[in-house]
Symmetry: C2
Subunit: 491 residues, 2 copies
């Protein structure tokens, strides 16, 4: 199998990927908190791991890809303070929290489909794993790393850090963290400001709560991912992914919880983090007014957009940057991507009827091209390099079409299988049906044809009139001549 190297966020090294039990690979990716519409920054993160999933599958691995839905426990303060994000939205929209969950889960799925993302193997939700979360809290308490306080349960980071390293993933030193934290005025439930919630007691107004040994309450936000990755992938698994912003505290807390509950194994062998999307050089964020939704992007209905761009254009644009680098979104870049994608897909479509010759080209040429594709992807999923190689493929195709280079039948099969594999399967690009996007085009074309036939008849140009009628007839389209002009219908 083609070697694959992954930049491991945990070790900060590019490491050769070796799964625990080949050909199986377990991958966990932090999914959305379903309290608002997905924006493009989220799309980039999920695209990163869609590519990882696709490439591992392409290499022949059998991947169990788990991506969760956060539907409880994520508080507005992103830590242990504030309101539940979904509960708050439910109050604002005057809906039951699970109606909010349904609405924004549907939106998320629609967006994933539009951008041609593969469905994960399992898409578990936090509310679907309350029992398991309570069990893990009990395990953590039993091992001495959790304590109850006033009906809530907290994870003791100080206690944990005496036995295990804490901060390894995010590169934070526990001593620095301890000296930098403010004193505990008001937060007197916690023994230490670094501690984080495993279970929170709910007050009377809280909408989402469950019974537990400690109180009627709800799980802490970090807990669900530890629980669901363990349940579906085991105590140690291959790859854990998510956005860069989740590295600390979320992923750091996940590691501590897993080790705190199960003992001293590193739970994840390869940590991967996707970088941010910026807009004209500024971070994409709702507060900046530049966090446009996929729908705004396709319609062009946003002050920062000169016009609409198709989902595949956006996908291609994003793949032109490496996942670990920031990527800047601009109209110029999108328009360039649109042209590039068209050039690529036009060449791919031509593959199936390239003119053949008996001779063909040098037999090493196509294998070399495919080898370069594999090297690009094998080097930490380097899609921009891959796309560069694919454009060398486009050049080759165009040279074959123009007769500068010859290709034999077996070579064409090799080229077609190879390029289609990388373009369609690995990058997940598809030929977009512009007709169905623009909807009205067929009507407009038919209107023009009906007019032309009318004029031909007026000029007694029966040959042209008949050509139009017969060609349309073959498509199942009938022109009907009425008193007030002609119309058409389809069988």
């Amino acid at each position: 199998m083609q070697p694959l190297y992954i930049q491991n966020s945990l070790t900060r090294k590019k490491e050769r990927f070796t799964p625990l039990s080949p050909p199986y690979v377990g991958m966990y990716v932090c999914g959305p908190t379903v309290y608002s519409n997905v924006h493009l920054g989220n799309v980039r993160t999920f695209l990163t791991f869609d590519i990882v999933y696709r490439y591992l599958t392409f290499l022949g691995y059998q991947v169990r890809y788990v991506r969760n839905i956060t539907d409880v426990g994520h508080l507005t303060g992103d830590s242990d303070d504030g309101e539940d994000k979904i509960g708050k939205k439910a109050r604002l929209e005057n809906l039951e929290p699970m109606e909010i969950v349904q609405k924004y889960t549907n939106d998320f799925h629609d967006v994933m489909r539009i951008f041609n993302m593969k469905s994960p193997s399992i898409e578990p939700s936090a509310t679907g794993h309350i029992v398991e979360q309570i069990q893990m809290i009990q395990d953590i308490i039993e091992r001495g790393y959790g304590y109850e306080s006033n009906g809530s349960v907290y994870f003791s980071v100080r206690k944990f850090s005496e036995d295990f390293p804490y901060g390894e993933l995010s590169g934070r030193r526990i001593d620095d963290l301890l000296s930098n934290t403010r004193s505990l005025d008001g937060q007197n439930e916690k023994n230490d400001p670094l501690d984080f919630a495993l279970w929170k007691k709910a007050d009377a107004s809280h909408l989402m709560k469950w019974p537990s040994p400690w109180s009627e309450g709800f799980p802490g936000w970090h807990l669900e991912c530890s629980v669901m990755s363990t349940k579906y992938l085991g105590k140690t698994f291959d790859i854990h992914g998510g956005g860069m912003d989740l590295k600390f505290p979320h992923h750091e807390c996940e590691i501590a919880q897993n080790i705190g509950a199960h003992g001293g194994e590193r739970p994840v062998n390869y940590w991967m983090h996707g970088n941010m999307l910026t807009v004209n050089g500024r971070k994409m964020a709702k507060s900046e007014g530049n966090g446009f939704t996929p729908d705004e992007l396709v319609t062009g209905n946003h002050p920062l957009l000169e016009r609409g761009y198709s989902p595949m254009t956006v996908r291609f644009f994003m793949l032109q940057g490496h996942y670990a680098s920031t990527l800047d979104f601009s109209n110029e870049a999108l328009q360039a991507a649109e042209k590039g994608l068209e050039r690529l897909m036009t060449a791919i479509v031509k593959l199936s009827d390239l003119p053949l010759s008996v001779e063909g080209m040098d037999d090493t040429q196509i294998p070399k091209l495919m080898e370069r594709c594999a090297q690009a992807m094998g080097d930490d999923f380097n899609t921009p390099i891959l796309i560069g190689v694919l454009f060398d493929g486009v050049k080759l195709i165009n040279n074959i079409v123009s007769g500068k280079v010859t290709i034999s039948a077996p070579q064409r099969q090799q080229l077609q299988e190879g390029l289609e594999g990388y373009v369609l399967d690995v990058l997940g690009l598809e030929v977009e049906n512009k007709a169905s996007q623009n909807g009205g085009d067929e009507d407009a074309l038919m209107g023009l044809l009906v007019d032309l036939r009318g004029k031909a008849k007026d000029n007694k140009d029966w040959a042209t009139a008949d050509t139009i009628r017969d060609t349309l007839g073959a498509l199942g389209i009938t022109i009907m001549d009425g008193k007030d002009g002609s119309s058409w219908k389809k069988d």
Copy 2:
């Protein structure tokens, strides 16, 4: 508000619908057990309640529509025996049970989308409500209607029937049930053969299990619906729907559980049951080889299908039968539905440019037509009657087009709003884009236009050549003249 009458399966009477707290309506519908692909019989059931949801919304009600996903507890014996359906499929496909759940939930959602079904407000799953199911079992035990036996918990039908009616929904008399049951050879966990499981102790090989006060096990199949309807709609709610085959024992057990846990109120005011789909007169079932999937239906890829039919044709065909009657699926009926749908949709498309006159028709004519639509739907959602009335509307439209009847501008608005409301919003029919189905039509039309422009230029008919170029230019299509003839591209 327009009066609505519903045939109530519980009382066997057609009753005027009065919600508990207007304008809110709560509706619960039993969703799929996600262990296999959806077949058309399932589609019919969900279509029935899609129409109920759409019409209640159309009338101005604010409907909370809950439709569950059964992802645990449904055993192959459809009662308390056999393997878990999902666990069994997981074993056969060598997957984790939740991978089976994900796969067939995705399939179910795809099918619902293809047939233009509205998403429910909440789509809760059985595994997502283990805590709540354990709580309800505890409530039932406390009230004396449940008992533990060897780690499992059963509902005592005999005890319940001493205090409350049992069998009311399905019309079964408890004495008949008691005298007709076989003795308990082997099933010695139950006190009585009529009892049903609330919690089942799992054996070591069972894949899906959770801790509980009684054993590591899983909830009985009937329990989830009682729990989730209560959680999201309250102890008493308006409408409960499902397929006819669920009336007994599933819905009967649901009623017993709700009353057993919460006391003597009827939990549901209106019970509705959708009837079966038959194929050439025989019941649709997998074992009969006639349970084709939506995909087979659209492609025509099944021995019983002469050709493929579009999803809207199938939707229209199903709506031509009343939900409470059986409906027989045949190629003839589908082909007739296809023609009928085309006639209807062609007329609807014409509405927006009907020729107007100052005079118009008798001012009572359109309100009378709309009144008849409302009466049809108000009479237990009678879609076949509604469709009959809509065809009177089609006749009217065609008479206006041919000049036999005149229509004024305000009348046209009234007619358009009225008919579109029933066709698009209530029946959920859409104009299908044949171009995008047939894909290649645009290319063929463009090929013809490029030829015609070439001929016009050959004949020095510059006017025609320019008309073609300019009209296409407006569509963003450019014709490129090269050495070897002309080609075209789209911006």
